[in-house]
């Protein structure tokens, strides 16, 4: 996605430190990336993959935050209040606007920022969650604000396949960045 279009949808990025971390890929979006999947699109909706055994949202209505809290609870996350880095924990943030959930971001393992997959576009690294926040009106096509932060311990990450998938995706993108240097867009 071209930088001007990114800045149109994410005006706070204009004054923030961020960089593109992966190639364009429409196989997965932000929720799958927050759960470390890169081979599927996730949403609590009948057309997309969702954690087995959990309820799905109706097709024509917006999805409340509770669906995502329930979903991410199955891979070890628990709701918390602070969005700051805590040693020994990995965090995800759920964004919502007035209509419902819009986006999810995952904290980097050692807390030096957040990773967001921008729809089908590239995934970016940004320092703060505020950098991708935007208008609360659903007609502005922005992410709204952070509605819920969840965290899980590093131990949970290690003992689940999620940790392996994270390392695999990180290696894949690291190799890609080596081949397509330079990667810093703005």
């Amino acid at each position: 996605m071209a930088a001007p279009l990114l800045l149109r949808d994410f005006p706070h990025l204009a004054n923030a430190r961020w960089r593109i971390r992966s190639p364009w890929d429409d196989s997965y979006r932000c929720v799958a990336w927050a759960a470390c999947y890169t081979d599927r699109e996730m949403w609590p909706h009948q057309d997309y993959w969702w954690f087995p055994g959990l309820p799905l949202a109706p097709v024509d209505t917006e999805t409340p935050v509770e669906y995502f809290v329930m979903g991410f609870s199955t891979i070890g996350y628990r709701p918390c209040t602070s969005r700051k880095f805590e040693f020994g924990y990995q965090k995800v943030a759920i964004f919502a606007n007035d209509a419902g959930v819009t986006h999810m971001a995952r904290q980097r393992l050692f807390g030096s920022g957040w990773l967001s997959k921008l729809g089908v576009n590239e995934d970016i690294y940004h320092r703060e969650l505020d950098d991708v926040e935007g208008d609360m009106s659903p007609l502005k096509w922005q992410y709204g604000r952070v509605a819920q932060v969840m965290k899980r311990s590093w131990w949970t990450l290690i003992v689940t396949p999620c940790g392996f998938r994270c390392v695999q995706a990180a290696l894949k993108m690291w190799v890609y960045r080596l081949q397509h240097d330079p990667w810093d867009t703005p």
């Binding site: 990114l6 196989s27 576009n121 096509w141």
Partner: protein, 177 residues
């Protein structure tokens, strides 16, 4: 055009001059054998030429009738396709950063495509599947709504390549009447 002597001698216009050919007294108005033969051959040649033209016209007409000539694409269909592509591009530009299927479906361009689909369901379903195959824009919701079908297997949900393949297969199997 070479005409064989054997055929020429059986033709009526040739036989007409045969008694004259046998006559050696040379009456008034006598025309030489060479000239008679030439006249006979000319008459026959004219007959052969006409007959060949006739056969050629007939075979050409048969060939044209058997050929599958593609029907010209109506202007209305071209306009519909152009309008659809404009809306699809606008929808992609403005919602490619969104993840929520419901929010992407509420975009005005998506709603306009749905409106077109209600009016021309057959054409728009074809365009949606074609666009999904070529440009990978995800029209799953619109297709399910317009086609009143969902060919995606539950185990393929979320796997975009398999979902697109499922719709392409469904489109191929759809009766084209």
């Amino acid at each position: 055009m070479a005409i064989s002597e054997t055929i020429c001698e059986n033709h009526p216009s040739f036989k007409k001059w045969l008694p004259e050919l046998a006559n050696t007294s040379r009456p008034a108005g006598y025309v030489g054998q060479k000239e008679l033969r030439r006249r006979a051959q000319r008459g026959y040649a004219r007959y052969v030429f006409r007959r060949r033209q006739q056969v050629l016209r007939w075979s050409l007409a048969q060939q044209l009738a058997s050929q599958q000539v593609p029907a010209p694409v109506p202007a209305a269909t071209l306009q519909l396709k152009q309008r659809f592509l404009d809306l699809a591009q606008q929808w992609e530009d403005e919602t490619s950063h969104l993840s929520s299927p419901s929010q992407r479906m509420t975009h005005p361009s998506y709603q306009a495509v749905l409106g077109m689909g209600r009016e021309y369901p057959k054409e728009i379903i074809g365009l949606l599947v074609q666009d999904m195959k070529e440009n990978r824009r995800q029209w799953f919701g619109a297709l399910s709504y317009l086609a009143q079908a969902n060919p995606i297997k539950p185990e393929d949900a979320g796997r975009i390549d398999r979902m697109i393949d499922a719709w392409v297969r469904w489109e191929r199997a759809r009766p084209q009447s």
